[in-house]
Amino acid sequence: MKHSATTQLRGLLLGVIGMLALITTRPAAAQPLSAFEEDYIFWGYPAAYLAYQSKVAFPLIDQMLVANPPAFSTTPSRQLALVALDQFLHDPDYSRKDDFYSFANARFCQALKALDQPVLSGVKVVKVYNNGFVLKTLKTTVAVDLIPGGTNYKPFMTDSVLFELVRRCDALLVTNTDTRHANRTVVEAFLNAGKQVYLPQGLWTNLGDDVHYVGADTVQTIDAAAMTLHVLPGHYGKNRNNIYIMDFQGRGIVAHTGAQDSDADRAWLSNVHSRYNIDILLTKSSNINLADMLTGFAPRLLIPAHENEMESTVDKRDAYWAVSQRMTDLTEYNIPSLIMAWGEAYDYADTRSDNISSSANKVIMSGQLYIERKGNIYTPAGIKVK
């Protein structure tokens, strides 16, 4: 059989692509890492060496983060933990290392643990992955831009962890259509669990009637999931990006800016503080207009997001050490900032705005928080317990 030149060239190209795929997807080591555990000599196996180094390092980093949680005056131990994490997350070959996935899920399980703790006042801020946060108050638990990370075929977050996260939440908000903020698996998991879902206009219009599409050219205000939600019309380039201002009705006001990055919005963004009394600003760490965001929102606390986005090339994985330097340069604005790694939590309580929790009759049963009213027991979300 004789092939045409075009067919032969196509075959050649496919062959080259196949070879490249084979080369780039070969396992990190020709033999299992356990084979090195007799004498720990890796001579001739540099990939196995690096894989084992990650296997050693990630659990240590995890332990160090647990032992040194987020704090305003950071310690050398926490600084080391974060820069060590930067080093290992800036490995271009991370996706072939099983221990990265174990680490990521260990961190996400820390988020689950944090969410199991009762929140008696203020807002518990839990950072998950990338720009994803879960905000928990006495009355509600809201996820924003929650994604599993990685690819559909190999997500960072296991299905069981995702299921557990969804189970602990009352609602999901998605700021924009970019896959680094919106994930259909997550949205469907929320919908299947009967939770409220708020999406930007135009995102997956075939998800049924239970989805709330929000965002317009002007500010929208919605009563949702035990909070008042203000949707500000932001942009990411030319794309629509919902900026969510979540007013947790006396417990705190949290702004999440999604992927906000548009010069056209700068004028009105500079004035947000005049209409909203923001407690916490969750915003992209690498925003080159970070100072403008700070003056525009004037929050009481800044928590940067989007560090070490693994789907990006290494030069765009914003390191914790770099963010820390950036925050130091912004000290003139007198706004405290808190750098958080995946799975970490911080309890924000502003005594000036928190006045509801003190009037509630709180009851702890089986480690869970409930509210007692007229002899009946309710969940913090107001659901009566038998």
């Binding site: 001739g44 050693v56 050398p76 131990s77 820069v83 930067d86 080093q87 050490w321 770099a322």
Partner: protein, 346 residues
């Protein structure tokens, strides 16, 4: 067909764009944003990491056996940096190692009143200080003669505070002629293996024969026992330094030769070794430990940055794993990095 000819052109354009991106000045460097400037990013990150590591090493000093978590992660983090070849011979590395060595230079002025103070330098270099003597073993500046890792003022300053230099074997990661000459110029003896630097200077004294040799240093109140080891077919002096009445240390150089094992099995019957400083990748580690039967192990030779590929740069975490495998021998160890010291008392 013609469209496929465009492919190389497109690829070339992409490559040219990428190169242009990486050579352009980074407009956001002052905001620590390094998009399309990966090498600058890695340099800045290495600098941040080395600073954090140096701070932690000062807070969490060498300790016996498995280090506590902060020190453990510090050492692993250092391994990671030193196993990324992009960091080789970069300014953050030079700054780091010189900072570490400067501390040794400064600490050498601190007197030892009891026991031995053991300093770890680059690669397999050690300095052992007693109340009466300060001896160096395999002290080198690292790197190349043209661009040494440790700057002259520091490494020769350190050498100037030592009373003698012992060399295990001729390999440049253990022996440096300029270093030996600096000792000789100060009238200090250098004991070298057979055939190394013959006739260079009367104070540089290679062994006449590669046999077990005792050399007295009465002015330093110590005896050097040279055991005739090998690295394959290279003469490798195992230097057993007996500080009279204080302690005995043994440094094995690059010992790696199966046929020496018969006599190594019996070293402990003739010498009461306090501290053994083996090369961390020594073969048959357990048999060597049984042969020397030391009271303490301080390994050397981790993270040699010379010509070895990263799989033979011997990370600190590997040493910890090896020590764990050998835990059943119940011999304590201290894992040290460059520019650290540990006080040993019997």
């Amino acid at each position: 067909m013609r469209k496929y000819l465009l492919l190389p052109l497109v690829l070339f354009s992409i490559a040219a764009y990428a190169i242009a991106q990486t050579t352009d000045e980074n407009p956001y460097a002052d905001q620590y944003i390094y998009w399309n400037h990966l090498s600058d990013y890695k340099l800045a990150q290495a600098s941040a990491a080395y600073n954090a590591i140096d701070t932690m090493l000062q807070l969490y000093r060498p300790e016996r056996n498995l280090p506590q978590l902060p020190r453990h992660l510090t050492l692993v983090s250092l391994d990671q940096l030193l196993h990324d070849t992009d960091n080789d011979a970069t300014q953050p590395f030079y700054t780091f190692i010189n900072q570490r060595m400067l501390r040794v230079l400064q600490d050498l002025d601190r007197p030892v009143t009891k026991g031995l103070r053991i300093y770890k330098l680059y690669n397999d270099g050690f300095i052992i200080k007693s109340a009466k003597a300060t001896v160096a073993i395999d002290l080198i500046p690292g790197g190349s003669d043209a661009k040494p890792f440790i700057q002259d003022s520091i490494i020769y300053g350190i050498a100037g505070k030592c009373d003698a230099l012992f060399i295990s074997h001729w390999h440049p990661d253990h022996a440096n002629l300029n270093m030996a000459k600096s000792f000789a110029a100060r009238g200090k003896r250098v004991i070298a293996p057979k055939d190394l630097w013959v006739g260079v200077d009367p104070m540089i004294q290679p062994l006449a024969e590669h046999v077990e040799t005792d050399i007295e240093f009465p002015e330093l109140d110590l005896t050097l026992h040279v055991l005739p080891g090998h690295q394959d077919n290279v003469y490798n002096n195992i230097n057993v330094v007996e500080f009279h009445g204080v302690g005995t240390v043994a440094q094995t150089g690059d010992q790696w030769y199966c046929c020496d094992m018969d006599w190594i099995d019996h070293v402990h019957e003739r010498y009461d070794i306090d501290v053994l400083m083996p090369n961390c990748w020594i073969h048959d580690f357990e048999r060597h430990l049984l042969g020397f039967n030391p009271k303490l192990i301080i390994t050397g030779h981790e993270n040699e940055l010379g010509e070895h590929s990263i799989d033979h740069r011997e990370a600190y975490w590997i040493t910890l794993k090896k020590m764990d495998v050998l835990a059943h021998l119940n011999i304590p160890y201290v894992l040290m990095t460059w520019g650290e010291w540990y006080d040993y008392n019997r």
